[in-house]
Protein backbone atom coordinates (compact mmCIF):
# COMPACT_ATOMS: atom_id res chain seq x y z
CA UNK A 1 0.00 0.00 0.00
CA UNK A 2 1.52 3.30 -1.10
CA UNK A 3 0.56 6.44 0.76
CA UNK A 4 0.85 9.76 -1.02
CA UNK A 5 1.07 13.02 0.96
CA UNK A 6 -1.43 15.72 0.00
CA UNK A 7 -2.49 19.08 1.38
CA UNK A 8 -6.13 19.96 1.76
CA UNK A 9 -7.67 23.11 3.14
CA UNK A 10 -10.89 22.04 4.84
CA UNK A 11 -13.19 24.64 6.38
CA UNK A 12 -10.31 27.12 6.28
CA UNK A 13 -7.85 24.87 8.07
CA UNK A 14 -4.84 23.35 6.33
CA UNK A 15 -4.33 19.62 6.70
CA UNK A 16 -1.49 17.42 5.50
CA UNK A 17 -2.66 13.85 5.07
CA UNK A 18 -1.20 10.73 3.47
CA UNK A 19 -3.69 8.85 1.31
CA UNK A 20 -3.92 5.70 -0.71
CA UNK A 21 -4.79 6.54 -4.33
CA UNK A 22 -8.14 4.78 -4.08
CA UNK A 23 -9.25 6.65 -0.97
CA UNK A 24 -12.40 8.66 -1.60
CA UNK A 25 -12.60 12.26 -0.40
CA UNK A 26 -15.64 11.25 1.69
CA UNK A 27 -13.54 8.69 3.57
CA UNK A 28 -10.62 11.06 4.07
CA UNK A 29 -12.96 13.65 5.56
CA UNK A 30 -14.58 11.13 7.89
CA UNK A 31 -11.71 8.81 8.79
CA UNK A 32 -8.59 10.98 8.61
CA UNK A 33 -10.01 14.38 9.53
CA UNK A 34 -12.83 13.07 11.75
CA UNK A 35 -15.32 15.37 10.07
CA UNK A 36 -18.23 12.96 10.24
CA UNK A 37 -20.83 15.53 9.22
CA UNK A 38 -20.30 14.41 5.63
CA UNK A 39 -22.50 11.32 5.36
CA UNK A 40 -22.03 8.37 3.06
CA UNK A 41 -25.17 6.73 1.71
CA UNK A 42 -24.70 5.14 -1.69
CA UNK A 43 -21.15 5.81 -2.89
CA UNK A 44 -22.35 6.13 -6.45
CA UNK A 45 -23.45 9.71 -6.69
CA UNK A 46 -27.17 9.10 -6.35
CA UNK A 47 -28.16 10.04 -2.78
CA UNK A 48 -26.34 13.35 -2.28
CA UNK A 49 -25.59 12.81 1.43
CA UNK A 50 -21.83 13.21 0.85
CA UNK A 51 -22.07 16.56 -0.97
CA UNK A 52 -19.30 19.06 -0.09
CA UNK A 53 -18.00 22.27 -1.67
CA UNK A 54 -14.86 21.92 -3.76
CA UNK A 55 -13.44 25.36 -4.51
CA UNK A 56 -16.94 26.67 -3.82
CA UNK A 57 -18.84 24.23 -6.05
CA UNK A 58 -21.16 21.52 -4.71
CA UNK A 59 -19.81 18.08 -5.66
CA UNK A 60 -20.13 14.47 -4.56
CA UNK A 61 -17.24 13.64 -2.23
CA UNK A 62 -17.82 9.91 -2.87
CA UNK A 63 -16.91 10.37 -6.54
CA UNK A 64 -13.58 12.09 -5.99
CA UNK A 65 -10.31 10.55 -4.98
CA UNK A 66 -8.59 12.72 -2.40
CA UNK A 67 -5.32 12.30 -4.29
CA UNK A 68 -6.84 14.37 -7.13
CA UNK A 69 -7.36 17.32 -4.83
CA UNK A 70 -3.92 18.30 -3.59
CA UNK A 71 -4.03 22.02 -2.66
CA UNK A 72 -7.80 22.27 -3.09
CA UNK A 73 -10.24 24.01 -0.77
CA UNK A 74 -13.06 21.96 0.67
CA UNK A 75 -16.00 23.14 2.75
CA UNK A 76 -18.03 20.56 4.62
CA UNK A 77 -21.27 21.01 6.53
CA UNK A 78 -19.17 21.70 9.64
CA UNK A 79 -17.80 24.81 7.95
CA UNK A 80 -21.07 26.52 7.02
CA UNK A 81 -22.09 28.14 10.28
CA UNK A 82 -20.28 31.24 11.56
CA UNK A 83 -17.35 30.87 13.95
CA UNK A 84 -19.66 31.61 16.88
CA UNK A 85 -22.10 28.90 15.76
CA UNK A 86 -24.56 31.26 14.06
CA UNK A 87 -26.42 29.18 11.48
CA UNK A 88 -26.34 30.32 7.89
CA UNK A 89 -29.60 31.45 6.36
CA UNK A 90 -30.58 28.08 4.93
CA UNK A 91 -29.58 26.19 8.07
CA UNK A 92 -31.73 28.49 10.16
CA UNK A 93 -34.61 28.05 7.72
CA UNK A 94 -34.27 24.25 7.96
CA UNK A 95 -34.64 24.55 11.73
CA UNK A 96 -37.56 26.92 11.40
CA UNK A 97 -39.40 24.73 8.85
CA UNK A 98 -38.65 21.35 10.42
CA UNK A 99 -36.66 20.36 7.34
CA UNK A 100 -35.15 17.28 8.95
CA UNK A 101 -36.15 14.20 10.87
CA UNK A 102 -33.42 11.56 11.20
CA UNK A 103 -30.86 13.98 9.78
CA UNK A 104 -29.03 11.54 7.55
CA UNK A 105 -29.61 13.47 4.35
CA UNK A 106 -29.33 16.86 6.03
CA UNK A 107 -25.62 17.65 5.57
CA UNK A 108 -25.90 17.04 1.82
CA UNK A 109 -29.10 19.05 1.58
CA UNK A 110 -27.63 21.95 3.52
CA UNK A 111 -24.35 22.05 1.59
CA UNK A 112 -26.15 21.72 -1.77
CA UNK A 113 -28.74 24.38 -1.09
CA UNK A 114 -26.23 26.78 0.46
CA UNK A 115 -24.30 26.64 -2.82
CA UNK A 116 -27.40 26.75 -5.00
CA UNK A 117 -28.98 29.72 -3.22
CA UNK A 118 -25.72 31.67 -3.33
CA UNK A 119 -25.82 31.35 -7.14
CA UNK A 120 -29.53 31.84 -7.82
CA UNK A 121 -31.39 35.04 -7.12
CA UNK A 122 -35.09 34.43 -7.44
CA UNK A 123 -35.69 30.70 -7.84
CA UNK A 124 -39.34 29.70 -8.11
CA UNK A 125 -40.73 26.55 -6.50
CA UNK A 126 -40.08 24.47 -9.60
CA UNK A 127 -36.42 25.62 -9.65
CA UNK A 128 -36.06 24.75 -5.97
CA UNK A 129 -37.51 21.27 -6.43
CA UNK A 130 -35.21 20.63 -9.40
CA UNK A 131 -32.26 21.84 -7.34
CA UNK A 132 -33.24 19.48 -4.52
CA UNK A 133 -33.61 16.50 -6.86
CA UNK A 134 -30.01 15.48 -6.24
CA UNK A 135 -30.58 14.88 -2.52
CA UNK A 136 -32.65 11.92 -1.43
CA UNK A 137 -34.53 12.16 1.85
CA UNK A 138 -36.32 9.08 3.13
CA UNK A 139 -38.02 10.76 6.07
CA UNK A 140 -39.49 14.17 5.51
CA UNK A 141 -41.38 13.90 2.24
CA UNK A 142 -39.39 17.02 1.25
CA UNK A 143 -42.10 19.56 2.12
CA UNK A 144 -40.16 20.98 5.05
CA UNK A 145 -37.00 21.16 2.95
CA UNK A 146 -38.76 22.93 0.08
CA UNK A 147 -40.30 25.32 2.60
CA UNK A 148 -36.86 26.03 4.05
CA UNK A 149 -35.41 26.68 0.61
CA UNK A 150 -38.28 29.01 -0.19
CA UNK A 151 -38.01 30.80 3.14
CA UNK A 152 -34.28 31.38 2.88
CA UNK A 153 -34.35 32.37 -0.80
CA UNK A 154 -37.21 34.81 -0.52
CA UNK A 155 -37.54 35.46 3.15
CA UNK A 156 -41.23 34.75 2.47
CA UNK A 157 -43.61 32.99 4.81
CA UNK A 158 -44.59 29.49 3.84
CA UNK A 159 -47.60 27.26 4.29
CA UNK A 160 -47.08 25.24 7.45
CA UNK A 161 -44.24 27.44 8.60
CA UNK A 162 -44.78 30.31 10.98
CA UNK A 163 -45.18 33.54 9.04
CA UNK A 164 -43.10 36.43 10.16
CA UNK A 165 -40.69 34.46 12.30
CA UNK A 166 -38.19 33.72 9.56
CA UNK A 167 -34.52 33.99 10.32
CA UNK A 168 -32.51 36.85 9.01
CA UNK A 169 -29.03 35.53 9.81
Amino acid sequence: MTLVPINLTVNGERHAVAVEARKLLSDVLREDLHLTGTHVGCEHGACGACTVLLDGQAVRSCLLFAIQLDRSEITTVEGLAGGDGTLNRFQAAMQECHGLQCGFCTPGVVVSMTAYLADHDQPDDEDLRVALSGNLCRCTGYQGIVNAARLSSRGAAVAGGRPGSGPTA
Binding site: A21, L24, H44, Q57, A58, L63, L64, I67, Q68, Y116
Partner: protein, 285 residues
Protein backbone atom coordinates in the same frame (compact mmCIF):
# COMPACT_ATOMS: atom_id res chain seq x y z
CA UNK B 1 -17.89 -0.66 -1.35
CA UNK B 2 -14.46 0.74 -2.11
CA UNK B 3 -12.52 0.57 -5.36
CA UNK B 4 -9.70 -1.89 -5.85
CA UNK B 5 -6.25 -0.39 -5.42
CA UNK B 6 -4.83 1.40 -8.45
CA UNK B 7 -1.93 3.58 -9.38
CA UNK B 8 -2.83 7.22 -9.97
CA UNK B 9 -1.30 9.30 -12.75
CA UNK B 10 -1.85 13.01 -13.29
CA UNK B 11 -0.17 13.84 -16.61
CA UNK B 12 0.20 17.50 -17.55
CA UNK B 13 0.10 17.09 -21.32
CA UNK B 14 -1.85 15.06 -23.85
CA UNK B 15 1.38 13.46 -25.04
CA UNK B 16 2.21 12.30 -21.53
CA UNK B 17 -1.29 10.90 -21.07
CA UNK B 18 -1.18 9.04 -24.37
CA UNK B 19 2.22 7.64 -23.39
CA UNK B 20 0.77 6.30 -20.14
CA UNK B 21 -2.18 4.71 -21.94
CA UNK B 22 0.15 3.14 -24.46
CA UNK B 23 2.48 1.82 -21.76
CA UNK B 24 -0.27 0.24 -19.67
CA UNK B 25 -2.70 -0.88 -22.38
CA UNK B 26 -5.90 -2.47 -21.09
CA UNK B 27 -4.78 -2.01 -17.48
CA UNK B 28 -5.16 1.76 -17.79
CA UNK B 29 -8.29 3.91 -17.90
CA UNK B 30 -8.83 7.60 -18.45
CA UNK B 31 -10.46 9.52 -15.57
CA UNK B 32 -12.26 12.78 -16.42
CA UNK B 33 -15.13 14.00 -14.21
CA UNK B 34 -15.45 10.57 -12.63
CA UNK B 35 -19.25 10.79 -12.50
CA UNK B 36 -19.66 7.55 -14.45
CA UNK B 37 -16.33 5.83 -13.89
CA UNK B 38 -16.01 6.26 -10.12
CA UNK B 39 -19.46 4.78 -9.33
CA UNK B 40 -18.44 1.72 -11.36
CA UNK B 41 -15.11 1.51 -9.53
CA UNK B 42 -16.78 1.97 -6.12
CA UNK B 43 -19.26 -0.79 -6.88
CA UNK B 44 -16.40 -2.91 -8.27
CA UNK B 45 -18.29 -3.37 -11.49
CA UNK B 46 -14.92 -2.68 -13.07
CA UNK B 47 -11.33 -2.07 -11.98
CA UNK B 48 -8.07 -0.88 -13.49
CA UNK B 49 -4.49 -0.96 -12.31
CA UNK B 50 -3.82 2.55 -13.59
CA UNK B 51 -6.03 5.63 -13.70
CA UNK B 52 -4.89 8.45 -15.95
CA UNK B 53 -6.47 11.68 -14.70
CA UNK B 54 -6.99 14.29 -17.44
CA UNK B 55 -7.90 17.10 -15.07
CA UNK B 56 -4.41 18.59 -14.84
CA UNK B 57 -3.81 18.82 -18.58
CA UNK B 58 -3.87 22.46 -19.62
CA UNK B 59 -5.85 23.28 -22.76
CA UNK B 60 -8.54 20.60 -22.60
CA UNK B 61 -10.87 22.86 -20.64
CA UNK B 62 -11.66 25.65 -23.08
CA UNK B 63 -14.68 26.60 -25.19
CA UNK B 64 -14.01 28.41 -28.48
CA UNK B 65 -16.62 29.80 -30.84
CA UNK B 66 -15.79 30.59 -34.45
CA UNK B 67 -18.20 31.49 -37.25
CA UNK B 68 -19.27 27.95 -38.04
CA UNK B 69 -18.73 25.91 -34.90
CA UNK B 70 -18.35 25.77 -31.16
CA UNK B 71 -15.36 23.73 -30.06
CA UNK B 72 -15.71 22.28 -26.57
CA UNK B 73 -12.58 20.87 -24.93
CA UNK B 74 -13.00 17.35 -23.57
CA UNK B 75 -12.75 18.22 -19.87
CA UNK B 76 -15.00 21.29 -19.95
CA UNK B 77 -17.39 20.69 -17.06
CA UNK B 78 -21.00 20.21 -18.03
CA UNK B 79 -21.89 23.09 -15.66
CA UNK B 80 -19.38 25.40 -17.38
CA UNK B 81 -20.81 24.60 -20.82
CA UNK B 82 -24.30 25.19 -19.41
CA UNK B 83 -23.29 28.72 -18.34
CA UNK B 84 -21.27 29.52 -21.48
CA UNK B 85 -22.62 32.33 -23.71
CA UNK B 86 -20.68 30.81 -26.63
CA UNK B 87 -22.55 27.52 -26.23
CA UNK B 88 -25.88 29.34 -25.82
CA UNK B 89 -25.35 31.27 -29.06
CA UNK B 90 -23.38 28.79 -31.18
CA UNK B 91 -24.74 25.44 -30.04
CA UNK B 92 -28.18 26.03 -28.53
CA UNK B 93 -29.10 22.34 -28.76
CA UNK B 94 -26.17 21.47 -26.48
CA UNK B 95 -27.25 24.23 -24.08
CA UNK B 96 -30.78 22.80 -23.97
CA UNK B 97 -29.53 19.26 -23.31
CA UNK B 98 -27.13 19.98 -20.45
CA UNK B 99 -29.66 20.77 -17.69
CA UNK B 100 -31.21 17.32 -18.26
CA UNK B 101 -28.02 15.60 -17.08
CA UNK B 102 -28.35 14.31 -13.52
CA UNK B 103 -28.27 17.08 -10.93
CA UNK B 104 -26.28 20.30 -10.65
CA UNK B 105 -23.77 18.64 -8.31
CA UNK B 106 -23.08 16.00 -10.99
CA UNK B 107 -22.68 18.62 -13.72
CA UNK B 108 -20.23 20.60 -11.59
CA UNK B 109 -17.79 17.76 -12.04
CA UNK B 110 -18.95 15.71 -15.05
CA UNK B 111 -17.38 16.71 -18.37
CA UNK B 112 -18.81 17.15 -21.86
CA UNK B 113 -16.13 14.89 -23.33
CA UNK B 114 -16.60 12.27 -20.63
CA UNK B 115 -20.29 11.96 -21.36
CA UNK B 116 -19.62 11.54 -25.07
CA UNK B 117 -16.68 9.15 -24.58
CA UNK B 118 -18.69 7.11 -22.08
CA UNK B 119 -21.40 6.73 -24.77
CA UNK B 120 -24.24 5.60 -22.59
CA UNK B 121 -27.07 5.26 -25.13
CA UNK B 122 -29.53 6.85 -22.69
CA UNK B 123 -27.42 9.96 -22.21
CA UNK B 124 -28.24 13.27 -23.82
CA UNK B 125 -24.94 14.58 -25.22
CA UNK B 126 -24.17 11.70 -27.61
CA UNK B 127 -27.60 12.26 -29.23
CA UNK B 128 -26.85 15.99 -29.50
CA UNK B 129 -23.48 15.26 -31.13
CA UNK B 130 -25.15 12.89 -33.58
CA UNK B 131 -28.02 15.26 -34.42
CA UNK B 132 -25.67 18.19 -35.07
CA UNK B 133 -23.17 16.13 -37.10
CA UNK B 134 -20.48 17.05 -34.61
CA UNK B 135 -16.88 16.04 -35.27
CA UNK B 136 -14.67 14.59 -32.59
CA UNK B 137 -10.94 15.08 -32.32
CA UNK B 138 -8.98 12.26 -30.73
CA UNK B 139 -5.27 12.11 -30.08
CA UNK B 140 -3.26 8.91 -29.79
CA UNK B 141 0.02 7.15 -30.49
CA UNK B 142 -0.46 7.64 -34.25
CA UNK B 143 -1.35 11.33 -33.95
CA UNK B 144 -4.62 13.17 -34.25
CA UNK B 145 -7.77 11.83 -35.92
CA UNK B 146 -11.06 13.54 -36.65
CA UNK B 147 -14.08 11.27 -36.36
CA UNK B 148 -17.60 12.11 -37.54
CA UNK B 149 -20.31 11.59 -34.92
CA UNK B 150 -22.13 9.08 -37.12
CA UNK B 151 -19.04 6.88 -37.07
CA UNK B 152 -18.23 7.42 -33.43
CA UNK B 153 -20.90 5.57 -31.43
CA UNK B 154 -20.48 1.84 -31.97
CA UNK B 155 -22.50 0.24 -29.18
CA UNK B 156 -23.36 0.64 -25.50
CA UNK B 157 -20.30 2.25 -23.84
CA UNK B 158 -18.32 1.58 -27.01
CA UNK B 159 -16.90 4.22 -29.34
CA UNK B 160 -14.42 4.62 -32.16
CA UNK B 161 -11.80 5.89 -29.67
CA UNK B 162 -8.94 3.42 -30.21
CA UNK B 163 -6.28 1.96 -27.94
CA UNK B 164 -4.15 4.66 -26.37
CA UNK B 165 -6.39 7.44 -27.70
CA UNK B 166 -7.97 10.32 -25.81
CA UNK B 167 -10.88 12.47 -26.85
CA UNK B 168 -9.52 16.02 -27.08
CA UNK B 169 -12.44 18.17 -28.20
CA UNK B 170 -15.83 18.14 -29.86
CA UNK B 171 -16.84 20.56 -32.63
CA UNK B 172 -20.56 21.33 -32.64
CA UNK B 173 -21.58 23.01 -35.95
CA UNK B 174 -23.62 26.19 -35.59
CA UNK B 175 -26.77 26.61 -37.67
CA UNK B 176 -27.53 29.83 -39.51
CA UNK B 177 -30.84 31.38 -40.52
CA UNK B 178 -34.22 30.87 -38.97
CA UNK B 179 -33.88 27.86 -36.73
CA UNK B 180 -35.04 26.34 -33.45
CA UNK B 181 -33.87 23.61 -31.10
CA UNK B 182 -35.38 21.49 -28.36
CA UNK B 183 -34.63 18.55 -26.10
CA UNK B 184 -37.50 16.54 -24.66
CA UNK B 185 -37.26 13.44 -22.51
CA UNK B 186 -39.28 11.36 -20.13
CA UNK B 187 -37.57 9.92 -17.05
CA UNK B 188 -38.94 8.21 -13.96
CA UNK B 189 -37.49 10.85 -11.63
CA UNK B 190 -35.83 14.18 -12.33
CA UNK B 191 -32.15 13.60 -13.08
CA UNK B 192 -32.54 9.94 -13.97
CA UNK B 193 -31.42 8.67 -17.32
CA UNK B 194 -34.32 9.06 -19.77
CA UNK B 195 -36.62 6.20 -20.73
CA UNK B 196 -36.51 7.86 -24.13
CA UNK B 197 -35.62 11.32 -25.34
CA UNK B 198 -35.16 13.43 -28.45
CA UNK B 199 -32.76 16.24 -29.34
CA UNK B 200 -33.96 18.09 -32.43
CA UNK B 201 -33.13 21.06 -34.60
CA UNK B 202 -35.24 22.57 -37.38
CA UNK B 203 -34.55 25.27 -39.95
CA UNK B 204 -37.36 27.20 -41.68
CA UNK B 205 -37.44 29.19 -44.92
CA UNK B 206 -39.07 32.61 -45.45
CA UNK B 207 -42.50 31.02 -45.75
CA UNK B 208 -41.93 29.13 -42.46
CA UNK B 209 -41.66 25.78 -44.23
CA UNK B 210 -39.32 23.26 -42.60
CA UNK B 211 -36.29 22.98 -44.89
CA UNK B 212 -33.83 21.48 -42.45
CA UNK B 213 -34.36 18.93 -39.72
CA UNK B 214 -32.15 16.84 -37.43
CA UNK B 215 -33.50 14.36 -34.90
CA UNK B 216 -31.25 12.51 -32.43
CA UNK B 217 -32.90 9.91 -30.19
CA UNK B 218 -31.53 8.56 -26.91
CA UNK B 219 -32.55 5.71 -24.66
CA UNK B 220 -33.94 3.78 -27.59
CA UNK B 221 -31.16 1.36 -28.59
CA UNK B 222 -27.54 0.45 -28.00
CA UNK B 223 -26.36 3.78 -29.47
CA UNK B 224 -27.94 7.18 -29.99
CA UNK B 225 -30.07 7.00 -33.14
CA UNK B 226 -30.62 9.48 -35.94
CA UNK B 227 -34.23 9.43 -37.21
CA UNK B 228 -33.38 9.93 -40.90
CA UNK B 229 -36.74 8.91 -42.37
CA UNK B 230 -38.58 11.27 -40.06
CA UNK B 231 -36.21 14.12 -40.98
CA UNK B 232 -36.76 13.57 -44.70
CA UNK B 233 -40.51 13.29 -44.22
CA UNK B 234 -40.70 16.54 -42.28
CA UNK B 235 -38.72 18.54 -44.81
CA UNK B 236 -40.88 16.90 -47.49
CA UNK B 237 -44.04 18.38 -45.99
CA UNK B 238 -45.20 15.70 -43.53
CA UNK B 239 -46.88 16.78 -40.30
CA UNK B 240 -45.12 16.69 -36.94
CA UNK B 241 -47.30 13.74 -35.94
CA UNK B 242 -46.38 11.80 -39.07
CA UNK B 243 -42.68 12.49 -38.56
CA UNK B 244 -42.90 11.43 -34.91
CA UNK B 245 -44.62 8.17 -35.86
CA UNK B 246 -41.91 7.48 -38.44
CA UNK B 247 -39.13 8.15 -35.91
CA UNK B 248 -40.67 5.65 -33.49
CA UNK B 249 -41.38 3.07 -36.19
CA UNK B 250 -37.70 2.76 -37.03
CA UNK B 251 -36.37 1.99 -33.56
CA UNK B 252 -36.02 -1.21 -31.59
CA UNK B 253 -35.67 -0.06 -27.98
CA UNK B 254 -34.70 -2.31 -25.07
CA UNK B 255 -37.20 -3.42 -22.47
CA UNK B 256 -36.08 -3.45 -18.83
CA UNK B 257 -37.28 -2.90 -15.28
CA UNK B 258 -37.92 0.79 -16.03
CA UNK B 259 -40.08 0.38 -19.14
CA UNK B 260 -41.10 -2.20 -21.71
CA UNK B 261 -39.85 -1.90 -25.28
CA UNK B 262 -43.36 -1.10 -26.47
CA UNK B 263 -43.75 1.68 -23.92
CA UNK B 264 -40.40 3.17 -24.94
CA UNK B 265 -41.58 3.25 -28.55
CA UNK B 266 -44.69 5.16 -27.47
CA UNK B 267 -42.58 7.54 -25.40
CA UNK B 268 -40.20 8.08 -28.32
CA UNK B 269 -43.07 9.22 -30.56
CA UNK B 270 -44.30 11.58 -27.84
CA UNK B 271 -40.92 13.19 -27.17
CA UNK B 272 -40.20 13.64 -30.90
CA UNK B 273 -43.58 15.29 -31.40
CA UNK B 274 -43.09 17.61 -28.43
CA UNK B 275 -39.51 18.48 -29.38
CA UNK B 276 -40.39 19.21 -33.02
CA UNK B 277 -43.31 21.39 -31.96
CA UNK B 278 -41.12 23.33 -29.53
CA UNK B 279 -38.26 23.74 -32.03
CA UNK B 280 -40.60 24.93 -34.80
CA UNK B 281 -42.29 27.36 -32.43
CA UNK B 282 -38.90 28.78 -31.48
CA UNK B 283 -37.87 29.08 -35.13
CA UNK B 284 -41.09 31.00 -35.90
CA UNK B 285 -40.35 33.67 -33.29
Amino acid sequence: MKPRAFQYHAPESVGEAVGLLEAHGDDAKVLAGGQSLVPMLNLRLTSFEHLVDLNRIAGLGTIERSSGTVRVGAVVRQAAAERSPDVAVGAPLLARALPHIGHFQIRNRGTVGGSIAHADPASELPAVALALDATLEVSGPAGVRIIAADEFFLSTWETAIGDGEILISVDFPSWGGRCGFAVEEIARRHGDFALAGAAVGVGLDEDLRVVRCAIGLFGVGSTPVRAHDAEVALTGGASIGEAAALAAADIDPPGDVHATAMYRKEVAAVVVRRALAAAIEEACL
